[in-house]
Amino acid sequence: MNMRKVKVQQKILIANEEFASRNRTFLAERKIPCLNVISSPGSGKTTILTKTIQELKGRVKIGVIEGDIQTDIDAQRIRTTGAPAFQINTDGACHLSAAQVSAAFHKLPVDSLDLIFIENVGNLVCPSTFDLGETAKIAVLSVPEGDDKPAKYPAIFARAAAVLINKIDLLALADFNIEKVKADILKLNKDVKIFPLSAKTGDGLQQWCAWLYEMVRNKTR
């Protein structure tokens, strides 16, 4: 019996990457920025999005692709703001794929939008590995999760264009050293924007929305 070694050197996630690249072209042709929002479950992604949509109402037309294992609760919450939303159910999968997002673009009135959010499945690990063709990744970390998360789950913080530290209204109740969190994130990613905010009280929301508004204006100009 003969043994034969064959060099392959092939990217394993090539199928996902092809869809991601198609999504990137689709967005670039329409000059629409698209942000892939990634966090643990319960960090407040959907609340941040509803408050962001309200804050930018009349200035930026936002559409949302929601990813969850089950239910369309989140898409319904987005629609109460008047913004269009499409819900993807992954039926158990821990992340969205570029193919799912590609199909979802056609379920939104894309040509009338200035900005698309993709709210990924709540999970700090898996979604960061799968490129969706987004313009940028946004990480959300909330105060009750603890200040060790950037050190424990570095991948998403290293790849994000912005990190939102949510629920800062709970800082007085939690052992959360926000300066340490900022320093840990900057060690992984020195170009990242960090926005401490509370989606509940609205504190810090304006700085985040101003950043978004600037990005949309630069893209469509």
């Binding site: 064959v6 060099k7 570095p154 991948a155 290293a158």
Partner: protein, 114 residues
């Protein structure tokens, strides 16, 4: 648990290559970057389940985890990044660039010819 979808992609890539090579794949080597978040045990288990009753059944999958590298901006030295000690081991400079994470790659396959 994204290892299940990665295992499926690994399985498809090896099966496609096996069709071309007309042999039975017995060993395969894949590599991934530390930020890829691949758990070896979960990937091996998922692959074992997916490859059952196929040409890949019993294949030995070797996984190489590649650490994150950084390049010092002061002395250009390339080193393994450690979040708990983020500095150049040569000149102790704390100003460096993280190099891109290694992609998930199917490196090579060993085939058994009859």
């Amino acid at each position: 648990m994204h290892e299940a979808s990665i295992a499926q992609s690994v399985f498809e890539a090896i099966s496609a290559e096996a069709k071309k090579q007309k042999g039975r794949p017995v060993v395969a080597k894949i590599s991934c970057g530390a930020f890829g978040g691949v758990n070896n045990e979960a990937l091996l288990f998922a692959f074992e389940v997916i490859s059952k009753d196929s040409i890949c059944e019993g294949l030995k999958l070797n996984i190489e985890q590649k650490p994150i590298q950084a390049k010092c901006k002061n002395c250009d030295y390339t080193f393994v990044f450690d979040l708990h000690k983020p500095m150049c081991p040569k000149c102790q400079c704390e100003d460096f660039d993280l190099l891109p994470d290694a992609p998930l790659l199917l490196e090579e396959i060993e085939f058994e010819d009859k």
